[in-house]
Symmetry: C2
Subunit: 136 residues, 2 copies
């Protein structure tokens, strides 16, 4: 049995509303500090840990530090069937659904004998917007 609490709700809402970005546990604590019933540090860890297990949130390795960042995952149910592009500059996560890419999985399986788990795999690079900024 799982209870609904304001703390859980606050964390999920915050991540949902900022789904283009990712946050460390501490950043989540900070961001929610002004809320009523702001969740404490340990609760945030317990809550995001559950959300990750449920597939509602994804965990990534942080760019430079020895910690992890968390990000809301739009399509939690079907993340097994598409690739993930993550921008190393702005942190944006793109759920890429594309027939062409399904062929890639088949190719890797047949030619390289390797069964891809797309849910776990993340392709890093730079997104449209960040590329534009660099060109200016």
């Amino acid at each position: 049995m799982e209870y609904k609490t304001e703390q859980k709700n606050a964390v999920l809402c915050f991540l949902k509303q900022n789904c283009e970005h990712h946050f460390t546990a501490s950043q989540i604590v900070q961001a929610l500090k002004t809320n009523q019933n702001a969740p404490g540090k340990s609760s945030v860890y317990r809550i995001i840990s559950n959300l990750v297990k449920q597939g509602k949130v994804k965990r990534f390795e942080s760019n430079s530090e020895n910690s992890f960042v968390y990000q809301y995952a739009h399509l939690s149910d079907s993340c097994e069937n598409h690739y993930h592009l993550k921008c190393t500059d702005c942190g944006k996560l793109i759920h890429m659904e594309c027939e062409h890419l399904s062929d890639v999985c088949r190719h890797i399986a047949s030619e390289h004998g390797f069964v891809v788990g797309t849910g776990k795999s993340v392709i890093y690079g730079q997104c449209k917007e960040c590329l534009k900024e660099k060109q200016i």
Copy 2:
């Protein structure tokens, strides 16, 4: 100027000889404990940190724990130009050089406006050998 030392050599040799697997910093310390001039904890961290910078070793997020694992990277020079497949079961790292996969980068760039950094990206899944084991 960089000095050659037995400690550096021991770490690189160990990772090289076990290039199919990955290890945490502590595991490396443990594994070398019986050596003469076994490197201490802090030295191992300093040494692998350098090896990663040099591209001779790759760092991955550990499966379940909040730490990182390190693995010898065969083709350090050209890792920017091919994809990496990593088996979630046995840890094997496959440097996949394949013309078909270059098309994938081009496709993602042209259709999805996203420039892939293959050096950083890792595709997780299961390798031939581990799949066989499961079928038996």
